[in-house]
Symmetry: D2
Subunit: 141 residues, 4 copies
Amino acid sequence: MSEYTPLSLQQINSAMEHMAFNHFMGMRVTEVFDDGLTIECDVTPHHFNGDGVVHGGVTATLADSAMGVALVRHFGGKIRAATVEMKINYFRPILGTKISARCKLVRMGSKICVGTVDIYDDAANHAGLALLTYMIIGPRG
Amino acid sequence: MSEYTPLSLQQINSAMEHMAFNHFMGMRVTEVFDDGLTIECDVTPHHFNGDGVVHGGVTATLADSAMGVALVRHFGGKIRAATVEMKINYFRPILGTKISARCKLVRMGSKICVGTVDIYDDAANHAGLALLTYMIIGPRG
Amino acid sequence: MSEYTPLSLQQINSAMEHMAFNHFMGMRVTEVFDDGLTIECDVTPHHFNGDGVVHGGVTATLADSAMGVALVRHFGGKIRAATVEMKINYFRPILGTKISARCKLVRMGSKICVGTVDIYDDAANHAGLALLTYMIIGPRG
Amino acid sequence: MSEYTPLSLQQINSAMEHMAFNHFMGMRVTEVFDDGLTIECDVTPHHFNGDGVVHGGVTATLADSAMGVALVRHFGGKIRAATVEMKINYFRPILGTKISARCKLVRMGSKICVGTVDIYDDAANHAGLALLTYMIIGPRG
């Protein structure tokens, strides 16, 4: 049982407004779960690569954000964590107007947290899977 | 010995203008090498995360772009390749005004290409390291 | 719908007898599923590292084997595939007498197959998670 | 400048004798460097997979061992560290009688250490590349 009270959907979306790159990319949390959350990003023409599909960096950003925001929420905004490393597999090109990312916090250690992020396109195709490691830095000022 | 003539610095930067997200993020190739290239990104306040440092997704985008663009250059713009997967380790927060990414193409197979990308901040601190797998899709357009 | 008939539990264990390192390590398939299988390894003192717990290489071997064997089974023994890359997170030291690995085939493309492998110790603790990429080489001899 | 005196080649090989799985697999350190070391493993028929080449788990074991042993050496045997995660790319099948693994410690933080391991077969072909994350646990009893 965690000593922290997870943020509500409204609270975590309010916190997102102060995360510049997430805001810049057009992300929002759409659903929260006991073990994580789902984040979405509207795809714009700015997000394409030279082949006319969503740039892998956009998808990687969504994965990293989903895990980072899931940790902010999990710890009630009271703990600072940082990405140690991220690994992401791409299953198919993303062509539609929206990407969603479902983060599950898989292992919450005292120092290291591990999560997965499943990526879906707007037709609910499974478009990628990430496995991420975060480190707890300390209390958030 | 490759059957392709690598693009020049000017040619690869011209090609970059048609890569929407790379352009949107403010990237340019600054140096080319026999085994890869260096790409840079100006850091703007839009690129920060909630802790006031560069978002991990920005760095991951730079890593993926460095490898993708290095492949476009290597194959003289004639071959299409796609990211199979990317793994990136973050060594330290990035605070400055510029990030650079040096891609080295490590293994060029007939189907699979593997590369590393070293990330540096504007004080030349080693800020991260990525290991990426691309798949050759076929001739470009 | 796959054109291949998956091997039965008995068939895949018979095939395992010709996989030298899997045999050497004491592995067997214990259960098969629509989307993968579970493989187990008896832990012996030979498998320990210098800290008296199971060596990370043993766990990585189990993960790679679980995915490789799941692909042999999925394709009815008719397709040869090779590991492109593997990534594994370790959640806790493994101390007991048995490790099990549950592979799920997540993405079966025409060239690239991706799977996850959850690792458990003999007290059913979640001890690790791997994400692997295989490439289809061609028909098996 | 580290406060620790790195172990000599003889000292680290003596320490290896107490690492059961490394001993079982036939590993030895063959060279030490300022930034890491090289470890070798004699390939035996026990190490093959079902396709008659070295099992990916053997190569992954060598990579994990190279980094673990490089850390034992770096810290003069006085610090305990554990693998957080490992990622390894395989470039080609390994057929010969020996594998070698050159670990470079790339980032030594106060909590997290990152290294690369280049894998070579006995004809000096570049056969793989790993990127690993270790966590410092504390003083070694």
